[in-house]
């Protein structure tokens, strides 16, 4: 039973709740949930490398932003078809991740954090200088993307289930990757890189591929995000957003570990983190304009109370 709870219990409960949401939620709550789910997809992709491979990327928002700009720029150029734009967005973010990852992965620890920040910042400044596409003001989408020529994504229900479906697919993919031989190498290299090398495995290509896949998934979440807000902005690529994603992943890992239902490197925990952070922010900011004065100490308490249990997550 615990084993079941650890692997499948938490995500199953969360997905069932999300799938049932249209039964009780109004359209605003649905769009709030869509936002949470889109961040969850980005958080799950970040957790693949952060929790799975121990690589803390501080430039993940840039990958999400590249995906968003992919959709925005294509639409500005007259391509509204999601079946074209979404794969392009994923490819662009994935290739950016591969190119920058190839260099970043030569470093470790905090150096890796900072070099990914550097590449993220470069992407941010490039987005800011794209004056043909709104520069700093950002770019409005004419409408949501078409799917096979249909206006499918424009209905709140259809959008909800589309996002939910892609989120589930992303979570399944990341879960499968981490459970597969490939993921075993990633997790092992996080645990004890020297041992892994002595077994004849060079972690570099595994990490690079994982980074690329995480980039593509982040790009997908960015593409969805552009559709949700019908707007793309350089602010999507800012380091603040990267920090928020890290907070979601780590807080989710710690919260899930405290519930004995997961930890870092488990898609269900990242999903929990994103839902918690987005919904808590919304709830607290409804209460008071100064909600951060409550939210900040909550994070501190989570860490202090969570203790070392979070490390007992999937490794």
């Amino acid at each position: 039973m615990t084993r079941f709870a650890q692997t499948l219990g938490l995500p199953l409960v969360l997905f069932l709740l999300l799938a049932a949401a249209p039964l009780w939620a109004d359209t605003f709550t649905l769009s709030l949930l869509a936002r949470a789910m889109i961040f969850a997809l980005a958080a799950i992709s970040l957790d693949l490398i952060l929790g799975g491979a121990g690589l803390v990327s501080f430039g993940h928002a840039a990958l999400m932003g590249i995906g968003a700009y992919g959709v925005g720029i294509l639409m500005a150029e007259g391509v509204s078809e999601a079946l074209i734009a979404f794969p392009v967005a994923m490819a662009a973010a994935g290739l950016f991740a591969l190119a920058t990852g190839a260099l970043s992965l030569k470093t470790r620890g905090v150096y890796f954090i900072m070099i990914t920040l550097a590449f993220g910042q470069m992407a941010f400044f490039v987005a800011q200088s794209l004056s043909a596409y709104g520069g700093d003001d950002g770019l409005s989408l004419a409408a949501r993307s078409l799917v096979a020529g249909e206006r499918w994504l424009r209905g709140p229900l259809a959008f909800h289930y589309t996002v939910l479906g892609l989120l589930a697919a992303g979570a399944l993919l990341c879960g499968a990757l981490l459970a597969a031989p490939f993921g075993r190498v990633l997790r092992a290299a996080k645990d004890n890189e020297r041992r892994v090398r002595a077994l004849g495995l060079d972690p570099y290509p595994y990490r690079l591929v994982a980074y690329g896949i995480a980039g593509a998934l982040a790009g997908l979440s960015g593409a969805l995000f552009a559709n949700l807000t019908e707007f793309v902005s350089p602010a999507f690529l800012s380091w603040h957003r990267s920090g928020e994603l890290i907070v979601m992943v780590v807080a989710g890992g710690m919260a899930a570990a405290a519930l004995k239902a997961g930890g870092l490197g488990r898609p269900g925990s990242a999903l929990l983190g994103a839902l918690l952070v987005v919904l808590l922010e919304e709830a607290l900011s409804d209460l008071t304009e100064h909600w951060r004065i409550v939210f900040g100490p909550l994070l501190v308490l989570l860490v202090l109370a969570g203790g070392k249990r979070a490390r007992g997550g999937r490794t």
Partner: protein, 392 residues
């Protein structure tokens, strides 16, 4: 319905209004007020919010005779957060009007979700060219100005003054570029240098050294918020204030003067309003504002105040029947209220036609520093984009 919208979501100021209202009989008018209330630019949103809420309070917690509910939300200066918040305002709180928005990039993000839902959007500040021109909407009204206009004031002034050589400086983003373009629309002399700085830059010593080296007749800048505070102080410290006139827009105003203090004395700005503007409605407004909040209002406060009065005028004219969108729009277009700016009417693109002034930082008799009207530069000025708006 959730626990009293005002108390939960609008913070203390709105709570006070709800209590003082006391008229619960009629259907309340719901307004969502979007303002930047966190981060370094929070003070701009604070001025706008306080101005808006002051107007509602003065009208006894009503707008146009109906009890008012004002839901204040913080856009955090993040466009996607703003979109999320206005969706909440429209879909959950079912507001009749959305008002406010300080920054143009936030406006760019929210204008579609609001006007697309056929909800009236009353800008309390941001006036990007797209919405003034081809992207104008029957549901969008500006209670402020079009972004370029304040810059044009300085361009016109520099031209009229006969300056031969100027240096221009702005942050490297769209509003910064628009600012310099606006200045150059009227200024025809030599531009010795156009400096673009990083957004959020702290230190301008490098740029100011270049300004000093160029020895221009005047310096024009658009440097909002904390950046402007730094620039003003550093401009003074670099010894440039005595030699090169400092022309600016959105750089020295009542949000930054408390921090710059006397360093900004004698600096110029362009605006449609200043606290000492000699209009009866304005005298009353400034006095009440200072009494209520203990600080001098900036133009954001004045615009927020006018936005509330504008909404009130439309509610009153339609007798509170806000479902009749055409009637509301017609009423709004009349701009039948006493603006703190005196002359105020709407152009075809639903942006104001108003007077613009050169204002200069001076000291009041009580020793406080504020912007003061120096001369009128444009009379009854409409913006440059109205022609491109298909609305008639």
């Amino acid at each position: 319905m959730r626990c009293g919208v005002q108390s939960c979501r609008a913070g203390l100021a709105a709570l006070a209004i709800a209590v003082s209202a006391g008229v619960a009989a009629a259907d309340p008018v719901k307004v969502g007020l979007v303002a930047t209330l966190s981060g370094p630019s929070a003070v701009l949103g604070q001025h706008m919010r306080d101005g808006f809420l002051l107007a509602v309070k003065e009208m006894g917690g009503t707008l146009g005779g109906q009890p008012a509910e004002v839901v204040v939300v913080d856009d955090e200066l993040k466009p996607d957060v703003a979109v999320q918040k206005v969706k909440g305002l429209i879909e959950r709180d079912k507001v009749d009007f959305v008002a406010g928005v300080v920054f143009s990039n936030v406006m760019g993000a929210v204008v579609k979700p609001v006007t697309g839902a056929e909800t009236f959007l009353i800008s309390g500040n941001a006036g990007p060219s797209t919405i003034a021109g081809a992207g104008c909407s029957p549901f969008f009204f500006s209670a402020s100005y079009q972004n370029d206009q304040n810059h044009e004031v300085l361009g016109q002034y520099a031209q009229a003054k006969g300056y031969k050589k100027v240096v221009l400086m702005a942050p490297n983003y769209q509003a910064g570029k628009d600012a310099l373009a606006g200045f150059k629309r009227y200024y025809k002399g030599e531009v010795a240098d156009e400096i673009y700085t990083q957004l959020g830059q702290l230190d301008f010593s490098a740029e100011l050294a270049k300004v000093a080296a160029a020895k221009p007749d005047a310096f024009f800048t658009f440097m909002p918020g904390g950046m402007g505070v730094n620039l003003v102080k550093q401009y003074r410290q670099a010894g440039l204030a005595e030699t090169v006139p400092f022309l600016s827009a959105f750089t020295v105003d009542e949000t930054t003067l408390p921090a710059t203090g006397e360093a900004a004395l004698g600096f110029y700005s362009g605006a449609a309003w200043a606290p000492d503007l000699d209009v009866p409605a304005n005298k009353a407004f400034v006095a009440a504002f200072e009494k209520e909040y203990g600080y001098i209002p900036a133009l954001y406060a004045a615009q927020g105040y006018d936005a509330a009065k504008l909404i009130a005028s439309a509610v009153k004219a339609t007798g509170g029947k806000l479902t009749d969108k055409d009637a509301v729009r017609a009423a709004l277009k009349k701009a039948d209220f006493a603006s703190v700016r005196g002359n105020f009417k709407f152009n075809t693109n639903q942006f104001p036609i108003q007077d613009f002034y050169l204002v200069k930082v001076g000291k009041r008799p009580d020793g406080k520093v504020e912007t003061m009207i120096a001369e009128k530069v444009f009379a009854e000025d409409g913006d440059a984009y109205a022609d491109k708006c298909p609305m008639k």
